[in-house]
Amino acid sequence: MSFRPVGEIVAACEAIFEDLSFAKAREWKDAVPGRKVIGYMPVYVPREIVHAAGMLPLGILGGGADMEVIHGDAFYQSYICRIPRSTIEMAINGKLDFVDGMMFPSICDVIRNLSGIWKLLFKDKYVRYFDAPQNFRAEVGGVFYANEMRELRDGLANLAGREVSDDDIRRSIAVYNENRRWVNKVYDFRAAFPWKAPSAEVYLLMRAGMVLPPEEHTLLMREYLAAAEAANRPMRDNCRVVLTGAFCEQPPLNLIKSLEMSGCYIVDDDFMLIARWLLEDVPTEGDPIGNLSQAFLLHSAETAAKYEPDVARKGSYLIDSVRKRKADGVIFAAPSFCDPALLDKPMIISRIEPLGIPYIHIQYAENSSQMQPIREQSGTFADSIKLWSAS
């Protein structure tokens, strides 16, 4: 397979990332009359069902570092995080005017209530608050969740003006299985050779997956991996960290770059967790909605928005990641005013401290601009690991 140089691929991803008018998604929609685009917010929605309805799932992750928020600040008090205000700003400014519907997953009260704001302000749009179960027994939470997905399927079918068959969903499950495999390959590659796949690049590559159709994104990841493997890049004497807490409002790209520049290779993270939410392939045989339900119940990532029924398992997802990725430490990176991340943090710290896993905590907003203090903090963290860790 021929491939573009890595810089060219990353530049293309960065252009998608910076384009808050979502030209790529608009192009996709305009290419065939009748196509629909469904926006979704973090952390997880079953994109397979949107895809099966012939629609483009579009990840909406806020307005980023550079977008000026004017209207959005009139919607939210100062003590509420930034992602809902920049998302509203985009909607009011017409950046989301081509989006036919929005999905708001059950992650926190702010995103939950944003679904109500959408209903009040955009009455002609399809709006779906998507509740995932906090009970993980197949006959209880599983049945509830499967029925919620059926309601979603029927709502989207109504919007599409056509039936969404089980075969449609099976095909979409296969597409996303393939996409997830390549996402995991990129993450594995970065963990093995972090100097060859800098986190800012991996981040941009994954952000492209929030906008592009999954088939196209899969091809892009394949191309990137081939290009990154071929590139000759110097290995730095960085420590290896897992970054956690950034599963909703995203940090500025400069923050990710700053962490690596200061001496921390990010070898795992929870940015855009949706791309790796399901930990195993979803079977493509049998009842597709039942399969998606089972995958959620039994094989999905742990994050602060999800209840952990077994107290002994609390934090195990992060600890497993530290071990699997051979990380030296953890960076808790939480958006300001993020209830899930900030309330979860003390519990997770209580699990990693006894294991001697070093950590630091940083707080950000998507438009944070002062990186020097963060660089100093993470640089000191990296130095302390290099100087005093047992390895």
């Binding site: 939210y76 008090q77 009260d109 939950r112 509740d131 006959e139 309601e151 943090k345 519990m347």
Partner: protein, 431 residues
Amino acid sequence: MSGQEVVKSNSQMVQKEMITRNYDRITGGTAKVSSTFVPGNLNELLMCFDIANNLPEINAIQNAMRKKSGEMIAEAERSGHSEDVCTYVKCDIGMMAKGNIAPNGKPFPDPDVLLLSYTGCFTFMKWFELLREQYKCPTVMLHVPYAADGRPTKNMRDYIVKQLKEDVIPVLEKVSGVKFDIDRLREYLRKSAIAENDLVWMLESSKHKPSPVDCYFGGVYYMGPIFTAFRGTDEAIEYYRLLRAEIEQRIALGLCAQSPDGDMPEENYRLVVEGPPNWTSFRDFWRMFSEAGAVVVASSYTKVGGVYDYDGFRHDPDHPLETLADYCLGVYTNRNLPTRVDMLARNIVDYDADGLLINSIKSCNSFSAGQLVMMREIEKITGKPGAFIETDLVDPRYFSAANVKNRLESYFQMIDQKRRAGGSAAAGAGN
């Protein structure tokens, strides 16, 4: 002014005794104890297992009103909790660190079970995950889906009923050693419905002019028994009968609502209030209204533990588990924003209010996120002015008396101007 002696009605005294008795039961060492939350509070179910009901939000409120919450929050922040998160949680965690002393001066026992009724508030889940770390007792999750389309669905109801049958009841049986008896539950639910009828009568009594009650500052007292450990009991029935008689007498005498200093001499403004009150300066806050002759005729906070007046919900003994599910699904913060807007707009019209005041709480995104949009929508629907103040639940750092008073005075002036321009008629004229 906070040093003045507070004037209390008979019903308030009775309610205080009831709350004290519940704390004595919790700390008495004989009953099994559950911790659970006010919204989605399954008191009737807990009673079936003779389990005492301890509510951490109420403990935080008690600590705030006793001026103890500030140091408890500081304690929690010192132990690693963020300044940005819910102060109820931090107050609770700080209280544990400071000996976990109940308002009656006795130590709280460790709960025998954490009944995590995950209803209308995301933070509840994290709160009890945090408490579970400390107490290491059985924790049972009751996930109540959000009524995002404004009404519960069959799928939601079935899911809750299944959780009750397959998770919650078996855990409570095991913890208590008491076998579940559905007829016992039916009997408690029948009693709940009787008390709920009088509760709704009380809420609607503020349609009178002058209103005989304040449905925010006074309302939080009147809500006490039904939202805490007494729904389903004879005591609650008696309490609401007493309250009703008291209010009937006030109406007959043409009395204005009570304030911390006795009956308000006049009623100048009738308000609907959205959001919880501030608890650290509760009476000072109340006086800012009562001294201006402002009475709250309806509030969303008095629906936080259950909505009974909007769509006629009463606990139904003929469908005991289903009615518990419907109750949980219907609590105020589990309803979507368009429903909350409709509810408050109707209140403004039905109670002939001068406008909507939002007390936006820093700690509580479940209430606060979206309130500015709600205010604009309600102004649009009713043509009545809205106003916005910001305080916190139990963190004294976020109550700026001068700022709040200033905004309230401006709001009252705005209402006066509206009246002069031909808007709302002056309140207080008898009907």
